[in-house]
Structures are given as C-alpha cells and as structure tokens.
C-alpha cells in the first residue's frame, strides 16, 4: 500500500536522475516523456485504489502516525495527482518540440521532473513540515526552470518570483514553528483534534492568518499576487504552461486542506477574510488582464482572477461551494495549461506573443483557432464546456448562501473574461497579420507539429468531455467535498481507528 502512495513521488525523482545523466543526448527528453507517462499510470492506480478503499494512508519508515511522516491520499489529493500526471505528460510531449538543446543540456528535463515530484509530494503528504519540504523542492526546481536560458526579462521576472516566494516560505516556516509550540504535533490529522485543545484560540487565528498569507502568496491571491504577472510570461512556453497549470494550484490545494482540516475553529473570521480575498482576487485579476496586450500576459492575469473563484468556493464553506472549488481546480488546470500551449504555437508560427505583432491565424491556421476557442470559451464559462459547470456550481452556492454581491462579482468577472478572450481572438486570430505574412501550421516540421498539437488536442478533448458529461465529475467532486467537510475518515486513516492523539497539549 505504501508503494502506491509513494510511486507518484519516486517515479519523477528517478526520472530526474536519469534525465540529468542523459541530458546531452536525445534520450533525455524521451526519458522525461516516459517518466511522465509512468507517473500518470501510477497516479491512476492510486486513484482507483482511493475510489475503492476510501482514504488511504501509509507511514514512511514504519514510524507510527503522529511521529513519523505520513503519506495520505483522499479523493482531493488523488485527483490532484492524476491531473498533475495528465498535464505533466502533455507538457513533456510539448517540450519535445519546444525546448531547445541548450536548455536541455542545462538540465531542463531533470528540473521539470523534480518539479513534478515536488508537486505530487505536496499533494500527498500528511505532515505539515513535510509539506514545507515539498514546497521547497518545488520552489527550487521552479527557480531553475524560470531562469533557464538567462534572458534579461527572465532574470528580471526571476528576481520578483524568487524574492516574494522566499518571503512566503519564511512565513510558512514561522507558522509551523508557532503551531508546533501550541499543539505539540505537526501531523495534519492529529492537528485536526489538537487545535481544539489550544488554550488561547486568538493565537490560533493569528497562526491561521500566517498560513493564509504563506499559501496566499503561492496561490497568487489579491494583495499578494504581484510576482505572478511579473514572471510567468518570461520563460519557455512549456515552463509557463506547467507553472500556470500546477504551481498556484498547489497553494490553493494547501489552503483548502488547512482551512477544512485544521483551521475550522473560527470560520466566521477566517472564511469571511477568505471571501473578501476571493472577491478582490477575481476583480483585480480580470482588470489586469483587460489592460494587457500580450497573449501570455493576459493569460497570466487570468490565472489570478480564476484563483479567486476557487478561494470563493473555500470561503463559502458549504458542501455545494466545496464541490464547486474542487471541480474548478480540476477544470482550471487543464484549461489554463492548454491556453499557454496554444500561445506557444501561435508564437511559433506567427513570430510573437505580442498581440500587436501577430494576426491572421484564423484564416491561415483554422485548426489552431479551434483549439484556442475550446479552452478560451471554457475559461470564460460558456456552456457546454467545463468552465460553465464550475462557475454554475459556485454561483449557485453563493446564491444559496445569501451572498448576492459575491455571486454578482463572479458573474461580472466571467463577462470580463469573455472580453479578454475576444481581445485575443480579435487581435491574434481575426485581424490580418501586420507584417503581411501568412502564418500556417504547415510551416512547422511534421515532427514538431505532432509534438506541439497533440497535447493541445488531447487537453481540449478532455475539456469537452468534462463539459458534455459533467455528471460523473460533479458526483466525484461531491464525494470529495463530503470528505473535506467530514475529516473523520481522513483522521482515522492516518491515526488508526481508535483515533488516539499523542498531542501533548499546551503547557
């Protein structure tokens, strides 16, 4: 059982070592694809196991639960790992044609696999300090990927990304220290009961807000998102895509985990704060996107705005809202990574991501236009694509809860999302190319075309499937939300059925 849980972490690490050894030849990139495929298979095995058996947990090194490091997978963790596998494989295939040899020799594929390992580790760990370690693994790999190539814009964006993320890391670390001082445990399942016994609940809220800030920086929520639009448009397209798909979502996942499992002692305060954050995140993100004039920069700001929807689901904290949040997470990762991949193809054949310098793609590359339309409409929430159901569930949850203002905000932000998507559509696809060239997909070699377009097509088909047959996905999200709101199964899986807590309490 422990192998099933550890495999999605071990496989990318092993692949990273191999890919580093073979970084000078073409083997490296194929190892990366193979490793990602193996990870996807491992994640699907884990998923079926969780679907059959409920929450599964394994103690690393056979140390019993609150003392050792626990790996634990409930439905949310499992689905996040599966999505990591899907996007990981898609971007690894895309990188075959996108990443040049120089970056490969500098160790692109090894860093990429370490990043995937860090992301999976963060999703699967059941220990707070271990979560910090996985964040660091993920961070250091992302630092490397972000500045690989070393252009001036990359270094500039890198400075902002690195410094602000380090601040958040330190906030996270201090929060861990203070929480341990108060409860005497770092095991998340153990903390669930240990926080009830804290002498001074006010201090607990302070620590909760520290965690909120730390994960808020990672998730790029309202006052803390400035590093994201400064850096995400600078590296190679495949790096942008995997960052856009996965990294901020690790922050959202951690917020959901912490604020459903541990910090539920004062929901009136913490979750109201999250609600305000969600509203401002949606609005500022979409307004920022409206002001941009570059394919990737528009998409970067849209990450921020979409994060707001997921936080909204967490902030409302009703069963339906959490269903929406989980559904949104899954849908968004696929759609957002895909849009960045489309931007990469557009740059490849039209020469730029600046919307003033490209155009005419609809006329000369209609297939690409179709592949853009699907994720773009899904992002904006057009029926019958996946984004529609995600937004529908969230807005319904807000209305049921009496949050008419936040529901209106969510709808208006959806409208403004359509505005930016039409802007990209109009300027990149409809307008004639300013330099008079006719960008076509046949200008790519057939090998490049297959590597670039097949992941986009597969992700687009996934978006359509989720949109056309939402029932099983919503049911899954319902089960997952139920687990989040009733963490007894999670706690029992980690600590054993008798639920013994070894927390020493406060002194």
């Amino acid at each position: 059982m422990s192998w099933i849980l550890a495999a999605p972490i071990i496989i990318p690490f092993a692949t990273a070592v191999l890919a580093f050894l073979f970084r000078h030849g073409p083997e490296g990139r194929w190892l990366s694809v193979l490793g990602s495929a193996a990870m996807l298979i491992a994640s699907i095995v884990l998923m079926t196991h969780v679907l059959d058996n409920g929450v599964v947990a394994a103690q690393m090194g056979e140390w019993p639960a609150p003392f050792g490091i626990t790996l634990v997978a409930d439905l949310l963790s499992a689905v996040m790992v599966v999505i990591t596998g899907i996007t990981g494989l898609a971007v690894a295939v895309y990188a075959l044609a996108d990443v040049d040899e120089r970056k490969e020799q500098l160790g692109y594929h090894a860093l990429y696999q370490v990043l995937l390992a860090g992301v999976c580790g963060a999703f699967l760990t059941g220990d707070l300090f271990n979560l910090y370690v996985w964040f660091e693994v993920m961070l250091i790999a992302s630092f490397g990927l972000l500045i690989l190539g070393g252009t001036k814009a990359q270094l500039d964006g890198g400075i902002k990304y690195v410094t602000l993320n380090l601040v958040s890391t330190i906030m996270f670390l201090s929060g861990i220290g203070l929480l341990y001082g108060m409860t005497g445990t770092l095991n998340m399942a153990d903390l669930h009961s240990a926080v009830q016994n804290v002498e001074n609940p006010g201090l607990l809220i302070v620590v909760a807000v520290m965690f909120m800030i730390a994960f808020g920086v990672k998730a790029a929520v309202f006052p803390l998102f400035f590093w994201l639009p400064a850096s995400y448009h600078t590296p190679a397209i495949s790096v942008s895509a995997i960052f856009a798909g996965l990294l901020t979502k690790v922050g959202v996942y951690s917020l959901i985990r912490m604020f459903t499992l541990i910090f539920t002692t004062d929901i009136a305060y913490t979750h109201t704060l999250l609600l305000w954050v969600a509203g401002f995140t949606m609005v500022t993100g979409v307004l920022g996107a409206a002001a941009m004039n570059d394919f990737r920069r528009i998409l970067s700001f849209h990450i921020v705005s979409q994060i707001g929807y997921m936080i909204l689901g967490l902030a409302l904290f009703t069963p339906l809202a959490l269903v929406g949040a989980v559904f949104y997470l899954v849908h968004h990762i696929i759609v957002k990574a895909n849009l960045f991949l489309v931007a990469g193809v557009a740059r490849r054949i039209a020469g730029s991501t600046n919307l003033d310098h490209i155009g005419g793609l609809y006329k000369t590359a209609p297939f690409l236009a179709l592949l853009f339309l699907i994720p773009a409409f899904s992002l904006a929430g057009f029926p019958p694509l996946s984004g529609f159901w995600a937004k529908y569930v969230l807005v319904k949850a807000a209305l049921d809860d009496g949050g008419y203002v936040i529901a209106a905000v969510a709808l208006v932000v959806g409208l403004l999302t359509i505005y930016s998507m039409t802007k990209i559509w109009g300027l990149a696809f409809w307008k004639p190319h300013p330099a008079g060239v006719n960008p076509t997909l046949s200008s790519l070699t057939s090998k490049d075309r297959a590597a670039l377009l097949s992941p986009i097509a597969v992700l687009a088909v996934l978006t359509c499937i989720i949109g056309l047959f939402p029932e099983p996905f919503v049911q899954f999200a319902e089960r997952s939300a139920e687990q989040l709101l009733n963490p007894e199964a999670y706690v029992a899986a980690v600590l054993g059925p008798d639920n013994t807590s070894f927390a020493e309490g406060t002194e």
Binding site: F129, Y132, V133, E136, L139, I140, F143, I147, G150, K152, A153, Q154, L155, D156, G157, G158, I159, K160, V162, T163, L166, V167, T169, I170, L173, S174, I176, G177, L178, Y180, G181, G184, P229, A230, S231, H233, T234, N293
Partner: protein
C-alpha cells in the same frame, strides 16, 4: 530565556523589514536572510529552552524525568537551515547575474519583464549601483 530569544526574534524581524523595504535588491536579500534566521529561532523557542538539561531518558524510564527541551524542533531547524542555505545561495547568484546583465540593483529600474507601455517617463530615482559598490 525564552523571553530573551523572543525579543531577539522581534529585533531581527524589525531589522529585516527595514532592509527589505529598500529598493536595492541586495539589501532585500540580506533582509531575507535575517528574517529566515528569525523564523528558525521561532521554531527553536517553540520547543522550549532548558539550558544545562540534556533531553536524555535514563535507563528503565519511558520519559525524561524533568522538563527538557523538545528535540524535534531542533531537528526541524536544522532542516530549515540547510534548505535555506541552498535557496540563498541560488538567490545571491541570481542577484549577481541580474546585476551583470541589467546593470542595476534598483528594483524600480527592473522593468524589462513588465515594460511601462504608456508615454509617461519612468519614475526617476537615484541609482543604487554606486552605493552598492565598495
């Protein structure tokens, strides 16, 4: 003892915030190093400080006889120091390469990734390059 370390943590955080508010990226980095040490000390204090009482369990007993420091936070601090060292080595190299390539350490002048698009001139500010040199 705990109070003393707590005051020290406060002083470190104050100094680091002062440094991090500077436009010079190198100063920011120094602030970051200070605040990370403050965080490490916080964890250290969280596990109690008991000078001259080693956390040893005598033969035949299951728990320490007297109140001793918790060894776990100290292990956590060690991990955090090692990770932090790696990150700061990276960050320092990044700042150095940025200085080489962009010719500035002033964060206001680092606008390459997000160029100012309108016609208004960038906010004039004194350069920190000269100040940064010995």
């Amino acid at each position: 003892m705990e109070l003393l370390v707590a005051i020290m943590v406060g002083a470190l955080v104050a100094a680091s915030v002062h440094l991090m508010l500077a436009r010079n990226v190198l100063r920011f980095l120094f602030g970051l190093i200070l605040i990370s040490n403050a965080a490490n000390l916080t964890i250290f204090v969280a596990g109690r400080l008991t000078p001259e009482t080693p956390p040893l369990i005598p033969d035949g007993a299951d728990a320490p006889m007297v109140d001793v420091a918790n060894a776990l936070p100290q292990a956590l601090v060690l991990t955090a120091i090692v990770i932090g060292f790696g990150l700061f080595a990276f960050a320092l190299m990044l700042v150095y390469r940025t200085y080489q390539n962009l010719g500035t350490l002033n964060s206001d002048e680092m606008r390459l990734a997000e160029p100012i698009e309108d016609d208004t001139a960038p906010v004039a500010s004194k350069s920190y390059i000269a100040e940064g040199k010995p």
